[in-house]
Symmetry: C2
Subunit: 126 residues, 2 copies
């Protein structure tokens, strides 16, 4: 999976967010080994330093831990997945509402717009 970054935001942040998404989805369950720094850097066509910075950030936030010579792993905290899911989703929802409210959009229209986008996306899958 090569993948496109938002050029206007630091890559290391976007990598961290992607790791968290994989954890929430269950692709990276607690205890699992994450891709190594060099491995992920090659996959994303990015410098290893950038990946390492992302991992350090995640370690500081209690998401990962690292073992020299072995790799980095998802923490085994049972509350982790739920916490991440809740944090990310709530932030996304809040951001959406903040943005459209700043346009003067009504709650009803804000809800309708989301429903429409979701519906269009579903029907475009075939």
């Amino acid at each position: 999976m090569t993948w496109d970054f938002d050029r206007n935001r630091p890559i290391y942040l976007q990598i961290g967010e992607e790791i968290c998404r994989r954890i929430v989805r269950g692709d990276l369950p607690p205890g699992a080994r994450t891709p190594s720094v060099r491995e992920l850097a090659a996959e994303l066509r990015v410098n290893p330093n950038t990946v390492q910075r992302a991992y350090q950030e995640l370690e500081r936030n209690g998401v990962l831990f690292a073992r020299r010579g072995q790799g980095s792993f998802v923490r085994e905290d049972p509350a982790l997945v739920g916490r991440l899911r809740q944090q990310i989703a709530a932030a996304a929802a809040r951001r959406y509402w903040t943005e459209v409210a700043a346009l003067g959009m009504s709650p009803e229209e804000a809800r309708r717009l989301i429903a429409g986008v979701i519906h269009d996306d579903k029907s475009s899958l075939r």
Copy 2:
């Protein structure tokens, strides 16, 4: 209105977005003069060059036009407001759905989450 920037995104982009929001809301109707470069720079505690860059960007996108010695103005294109409103809102909705879908969230939950956030916000206004 002093106002806080997202430190992880270029300020000039955020200024441009705020101008567009003001246009959509009607605070800056077509034909209206925008704050001068120096004026807005002072208001936002930002360098005049940064504001100028935002204005240039908006001029390239057909949102503003400038007259030396007079100021910058919102274009009088009758479709402008609707176009901006549609663009910004649709992008916001799409981004929200992309984000939560990447967590594995269902359409129903995505809609419920938005409804909850909007409701909480309304009831916190008093």
